[in-house]
């Protein structure tokens, strides 16, 4: 379905790159196995999933109510909520604060939402340095690449690649040992934390009854980003709301298990506002940017609304045979893997990359591991239908329309259909049938199965006659 030539070549290169294939395959295999182990040890796992999905559904169906409740509670704790229609408004707010406070450098903890709006680029265009502090994210920033995986941003790189990136990016010696590389990042970033005027984070959950953000991480960089600088700004999507802090008992049991196979991440921080009287540290100013950027449009589509359930655990990426083959950089938008395949068309319009919902065998592995029970294969099918419907409506592909009309006519004329089947079988046996002409692109990456020597219809007739 209409993939650009450029994209096709990129995908072919990724598939042919053994080093990349090995790195991605082993990283995702590790994450998959670890998830499997801890999930099997949790007898209440399925029940928790059902509960989590129901909570998300409820929160989304009453989103306006919970957003207002969240806002009121943030204000009550001395924080502020900033509403942003899109990335321009979110970045605009951060730029204003930076200008007002004379801030030249911000530290960031991992956030897909800020990736989505290219926040770093926007800040840098205005002379503000934005430093990623998650180790993987920092490597990607130095390499000038977007994250490759939602939770393991640099999982496609070998330690030799990383040594090279550090040598170039930091102009310093760096060996091949991960321990040493992490130590180098720690030293460089430690200074940045203590110097930065603003810390920017995302949020895994927004807790309505508490006016608080929940952030999970393993390194401590998110804690530093949200503690050391005088100003903490969280940039997040409106769909991250959950009703009550007590609901975290459900979500926290699922999130780390699904993401990395941990029972809990090393640090799980619930942050409700700036420091309070008597506190010795913590930010003096606390802002939550609630961004729409297309989310309300997704919300309106009842059939696919559950796409907004996603808690970005990354389990569906690790389970997906397509992601594991083509990798995280061959999806058209910030979000890759099965979740990217279902939300990208909804955010960007189905005709932008019409091939995306078709790039799946609908094996169902993603839905099986999703902790919030998003029925990804079903949504892919819905999207395929939407692609066809929008295309037909636009009559952009007359040939295909005729082909389908012809097919439908053929289906209504059994004798001709049988004849066409026989001709097709002969055609497929011609050696060049899938190497030249309209089927060439398709045939490039596939071995065409040989049609049976006798059609099903013919076999059926024979069997009936034999009885």
């Amino acid at each position: 379905m209409m993939m650009t030539r450029e994209r096709l070549v990129q995908i072919q290169n990724a598939v042919a790159d053994t080093k990349l294939q090995n790195a991605v395959y082993s990283a995702t295999a590790r994450l998959k196995e670890k998830r499997q182990e801890v999930v099997e040890e949790l007898p209440e796992y399925q029940e928790l999933r059902t509960h989590a999905a129901a909570l998300k559904k409820h929160a989304l169906e009453n989103l306006d109510h919970y957003l207002e409740q969240f806002e009121a509670n943030v204000i009550a704790h001395g924080g502020k909520v900033v509403w942003a229609r899109d990335g321009d408004e979110a970045a605009g707010f951060i730029l204003d604060i930076a200008r007002q406070r004379g801030v030249k450098m911000v530290v960031k903890s991992k956030s897909m939402v800020t990736e989505e709006i290219h926040l770093n680029q926007r800040l840098e265009e205005h002379g503000i340095e934005a430093v990623e502090t998650d180790l993987g994210e920092y490597i990607q920033q130095l390499a000038k690449e977007p994250p490759f995986h939602i939770i393991a941003p640099a999982c496609h790189k070998t330690r030799q690649d990383i040594a090279e990136i550090f040598r170039k990016g930091l102009n310093t010696e760096c060996g091949d040992e991960p321990e040493q590389q992490a130590g180098l990042a720690r030293r460089v970033l430690r200074e940045k934390f203590l110097e930065a005027g603003i810390g920017i984070s995302g949020a895994n959950f927004l807790v309505a009854d508490s006016g608080a953000l929940l952030i999970v991480e393993n390194e401590g960089n998110a804690r530093l980003c949200t503690t050391a600088p005088k100003i903490h700004i969280a940039v997040t999507g409106i769909e991250k709301i959950i009703p009550r802090a007590q609901d975290l008992a459900v979500f926290l049991k699922l999130l780390a298990r699904s993401a990395t196979g941990q029972l809990l991440t090393v640090y799980t921080s619930l942050l409700g506002g700036p420091r309070r009287p008597g506190d010795v540290d913590g930010p003096e100013e606390f802002y939550v940017v609630l961004m729409d950027n297309g989310r309300s449009r997704l919300l309106a589509d009842k059939e696919k609304r559950e796409s907004l359930n996603c808690i970005r655990c990354g389990a569906c990426l690790n389970a997906c045979p397509v992601y594991r083959k083509i990798g995280g950089h061959n999806y058209p938008w910030t979000y890759s893997g099965p979740i990217g395949a279902i939300i990208t068309p909804q955010y960007k319009g189905v005709l932008q990359d019409p091939w995306l919902p078709f790039a799946s065998s609908l094996c169902g592995a993603c839905a099986e591991v999703c902790p919030v029970k998003i029925d990804i294969p079903k949504i892919l099918l819905d999207l395929r239908r939407d692609v066809v419907a929008e295309r037909t409506q636009a009559s952009s592909n007359r040939l295909e329309k005729w082909a389908f009309q012809g097919y439908s006519w053929l289906m209504r004329h059994p004798r001709l259909y049988a004849l066409a089947g026989r001709l097709g079988a002969i055609g497929a046996k011609l050696p060049f049938a899938t190497r030249i002409g309209p089927a060439a692109k398709w045939g490039q990456v596939r071995e065409v199965p040989m049609p049976a020597s006798e059609s099903f219809r013919a076999q059926w007739r024979k069997r009936k006659a034999a009885k």
Partner: protein, 220 residues
């Protein structure tokens, strides 16, 4: 939030408007409450909790000790702490255990810039912990009682936890503290030493936070 100039619709009104239109809801329309929170406190006898906590935390590379009395905790700290200056938070339990008066320990810091400098150069940070969670091997630290930086900047973290505060797990914690943000701006669960597997999935400890964590569980 104030209405923008020229009667323009604010981002807030517009977003909430779109959300309501998407859901077919009216402003202020009441909400049917969600199902009751799912909190099921498991039955783990008090004497098994310590063992479980220790197993879990040590599997992650942490170290757990048991001190019958507060004074024992003080002695343990002297044995465990790495050479060099240590910083102790202002948690009362540290004073009660005599830790704040040990040699080469900075404590009682109330001024933030000084606290930062001290934490950034200390060999070890010593804090209390509000709760422990046995099922996950976690500590709970609440900002109202604890500095945030002392458990974060130094390369080694030592924490004192009262055995009576060792809970079973998340469900018990959220039952006892239904709204943690009501009482403090930060509630952190700490589960093991800082770690990363971002490079070839190889485990590295102490990436930004402490590379070692020691928990002394005090029976007294």
């Amino acid at each position: 939030m104030a209405e923008a100039e020229g009667g323009e619709v604010t981002a807030r009104e517009e977003i909430l408007g779109r959300v309501r239109a998407a859901l077919g809801r009216n402003p202020g329309q009441p909400v049917k409450p969600p199902a009751a929170p799912r909190l099921r406190i498991p039955e783990i006898p008090a004497d098994e909790r310590f063992g479980l906590f220790q197993t879990r935390l040590e599997a992650l590379g942490g170290k757990v000790y048991r001190a019958p009395a507060l004074a024992d905790a003080g002695r343990l700290v002297t044995q465990i702490r790495p050479p060099g200056p240590a910083v102790a938070s202002n948690a009362p339990i540290l004073r009660e255990a005599g830790i704040t008066s040990l040699p080469d320990i900075l404590t009682g810091l109330t001024e933030e810039s000084r606290l930062r400098d001290v934490c950034a150069s200390a060999a070890c940070g010593i804090t209390g912990a509000d709760y422990g969670m046995a099922q996950t091997g976690s500590l709970v630290t609440i900002a109202a009682n604890e500095s945030r930086l002392v458990s974060l900047l130094p390369p080694v973290h030592i924490a004192l936890l009262r055995l009576s505060r060792l809970l079973t797990g998340l469900d018990e914690f959220y039952t006892l503290v239904p709204k943690p943000a009501g009482g403090a701006c930060s509630t952190v669960f700490i589960t093991g030493p800082s770690r990363s597997a971002d490079i070839e999935m190889i485990l590295v400890r102490g990436v930004h936070g402490p590379k070692a964590i020691h928990v002394i569980v005090v029976e007294e």
